[in-house]
């Protein structure tokens, strides 16, 4: 085990996969000479050069398309979006091309590509730069969607995503890049896509959290434990699609209560999907309605006090747990 930040864990995963497979290359804005806008690719251009780490013009649709074509022709591109907000410009290549190519071609052309970058809010960057887009992509068949919340998950899942033969939407969180965690040693450490992780064991209530809300959920759980001696379990799906609903359902069958915490806007969110699937599979086990905590249904404001009011928080999660536990 080595302690490192999520940023460094991602960087290590990229580096190891660049070494392991020469068909892997990184392309995106400022990923090379600049070391990445958020330094996730730090040092990689110096080490691997122009061929493997490529600075692209600001043409999201174009370089996403380039990645899709390169993947079709056998390479394994890792396409960085400086932030996922900008991927909306590239969504046609992701949704209409990458996601459908394998099916459309009758199983002839799979697209081994990873689209990655920071998702969600980032300290007062306002409405055009603060969106969490997991629901936007998870609705479309043909895409896998991953959202790590710890350094170990970040490294293990990114390596699996790069080795996966399908398009993977890999969603990071800028405000979490600096968070530290223990990461197992060795190039062989990977975490399979589609497997949830119980981040905290508990018996009285389940919180399903992902990315941004996982640290909040863990804090909330501690607080609830102290204040009310109620034991909260925190489940992190880690992969949104395919979703490990079984682990979530088993937790709910044990606790009979569920809170879902997410950074995205609420309407037709991944949280709504999890709620539906839990109800479908554990309806009779639910002792209270499932409660969802999301970012408010308004564009993200700039002012710090408004931004904080818009986002999910430990307080909001605690309140939700109290509600479903009738505390």
């Amino acid at each position: 085990m080595a302690e490192m930040t999520i940023r460094d864990a991602l960087n290590a995963a990229l580096r190891e996969e660049l070494i392991r497979d020469e068909n892997v290359f990184i392309i995106g804005e400022e990923v090379a000479e600049y070391d990445g806008a958020y330094k996730v690719t730090r040092g990689l251009w110096k080490e691997f050069g122009d061929k493997r780490v490529v600075d692209s013009p600001i043409t999201e649709l174009g370089f996403a398309g380039l990645g899709v074509g390169a993947a079709m022709a056998g390479l394994r591109p890792v396409v960085e979006f400086m932030t996922w907000n900008f991927s909306i410009l590239a969504s046609d290549q992701i949704i209409n091309h990458a996601a459908k190519m394998y099916y459309m071609s009758g199983g002839q052309f799979n697209i081994p590509i990873v689209f990655r970058g920071p998702n969600g809010s980032a300290y007062q960057v306002s409405s055009q730069h603060s969106q969490a887009l997991e629901a936007f992509y998870a609705n479309f068949p043909g895409l896998k969607v991953v959202m790590p919340s710890t350094a170990a998950d970040a490294k293990g899942l990114l390596k699996s995503a790069i080795r996966d033969d399908n398009p993977v939407i890999f969603l990071e969180q800028e405000t979490m890049y600096g968070m530290k965690g223990e990461v197992p040693e060795g190039e062989d450490f990977t975490i399979p896509l589609g497997v949830a992780d119980v981040k905290r064991e508990g018996s009285d209530c389940t919180i399903v959290a992902r990315s941004f809300t996982v640290p909040q959920a863990l804090q909330a759980a501690e607080q609830i434990q102290k204040e009310f001696d109620v034991s909260v379990e925190v489940v992190d799906p880690r992969t949104i699609k395919p979703l490990d609903i079984e682990t979530i359902v088993n937790s709910v069958k044990k606790t009979n209560r569920l809170v879902i915490a997410e950074e995205s806007h609420p309407f037709a969110s991944v949280g709504a999907e999890i709620a539906y699937q839990v109800m479908e599979n554990a309806f009779d086990y639910l002792d209270a309605p499932i409660k969802r905590v999301s970012t408010v249904d308004a564009p993200m404001p700039y002012a710090r006090n408004l931004e904080l009011a818009a986002l999910p928080s430990v307080e909001k999660i605690v309140a939700a747990v109290k509600e479903v536990c009738y505390l």
Partner: protein, 385 residues
């Protein structure tokens, strides 16, 4: 007098696949007069002018034809005839309800696919738009597999999952069959990027229509291709219309090849009714690309005989206009040159027509007799394992 000779031959049914008993070939119920001045695009590029330029090239062309391998020439002509007859058959069976969804035919543009693709070598890639039947067959996908796909059968080129717009063959280097206007320009750029990345001298032919040129991805892709020397040959098939909209109603300039200058890229205008001209321009582009990866934009101008798709009534152009362009039918022009070059006789032509007719009939029979896909296919090929 070769010209009159040509005209006489033009009336010899047996050797003419192009014009169907003199009537203009289209599925349109086009109005006899121009519906709106806007849609009269003859001023943009005059057919007579094109023919005049063609006549200037003619001598040297005959000479170069004589130098070419006779079997290659035979195959080129055969593929043009096959494409023409296959598409006619599609129109016929589409009307019988055998084909669903959209069906975009290639009639009138055969010289572009044949002239350019037959200049490729092993390892080169091709991709195009939804108007993909002929490119697919020139790439080597059998008429059976294409027709069965149109029928939505399990034996189709992509197992009935794609239909008319989405033909693919990894084995034959045919990368589709894409339905989003302009989408394949980005994908093709990436395919060529991979060819260079792997250190090969292979190239990618990326076909798209003139209306796709207005899409942002054209601009984004050409900039990257020139910036990084990506061996992609961008072939704009200018068939004068994007659905019901003539180029001049959708684009602020007439000369698409000129757009290459905005990227510092090589660009060339090509007469798309002249298969030899297409071949030679493509060979020049291929040479640049194999050399150091330099991309090229080719504007190859032809004409879409049929409506945009089988469901297009086509009220936006006149029968005069259609007829005018059909005077320079690419198959007729090529046959005339071959005859003049004394490479083939009318009998050779008849044989090729017969062979193509048989291939098309066999394709229909195959498609008709094939089974529909099993329902279990619905959920396969979503993810690669």
């Amino acid at each position: 007098m070769p010209k009159t000779a040509t005209r006489q031959k033009a009336d010899d049914k047996k050797t003419r696949v192009a014009s169907k008993n003199g009537k203009s070939e289209t599925n349109e119920t086009a109005s006899p007069t121009t519906p709106s001045a806007e849609t009269d695009i003859v001023d943009v590029y005059d057919v007579k002018e094109a023919q005049a330029e063609y006549n200037k090239r003619r001598k040297s062309q005959i000479a170069s034809i004589k130098k070419l391998d006779k079997e290659l020439l035979r195959e080129m002509l055969y593929q043009m005839i096959l494409g023409r007859l296959f598409e006619r058959k599609c129109a016929e069976v589409y009307r019988m309800g055998k084909i669903g969804g959209f069906c975009h035919l290639y009639i009138g543009q055969e010289a572009i696919a044949v002239g350019s693709m037959m200049a490729l070598k092993e390892g080169d890639y091709v991709l195009t738009s939804y108007r993909d039947h002929v490119q697919a067959m020139v790439a080597g996908i059998t008429p059976e597999a294409v027709m069965a796909e149109l029928y939505g059968k399990a034996t189709g080129n992509v197992k009935g999952k794609g239909g008319s717009m989405h033909m693919f063959s990894k084995e034959l280097g045919f990368y589709g069959g894409h339905g989003i206007v302009g989408g394949q320009i980005g994908v093709g750029t990436g395919m060529a990027y991979a060819q260079k990345y792997k250190g090969t001298d292979n190239v990618t032919l990326c076909f798209f229509g003139e209306a796709a040129v207005n899409q942002g991805i054209f601009h984004e892709s050409l900039n990257m291709a020139q910036l990084w020397k990506i061996p992609c040959i961008y072939i704009c098939e200018n068939n004068r219309y994007g659905m019901g909209t003539s180029q001049k109603r959708a684009m602020s300039i007439a000369n698409i090849a000129k757009k290459a200058e905005g990227y510092g890229m090589a660009g060339e205008f090509v007469d798309g009714m002249d298969v030899m001209a297409v071949r030679e321009a493509t060979l020049r582009a291929i040479e640049r690309a194999r050399e150091d990866g330099s991309p090229t934009l080719l504007e190859i101008r032809a004409y879409r005989y049929m409506g945009h798709s089988m469901s297009d009534p086509g009220k936006y152009r006149t029968t005069e206009e259609i007829k005018k362009y059909q005077e320079r039918d690419p198959i007729n022009l090529f046959q005339d040159s071959l005859r003049e070059a004394k490479v083939f006789t009318d009998q050779d032509f008849e044989e090729l027509v017969a062979k193509a007719t048989a291939a098309v009939d066999a394709a229909v029979k195959f498609a008709d007799e094939s089974p529909f896909p099993d329902e279990s296919e619905l959920l396969t090929d979503v993810f690669a394992e």
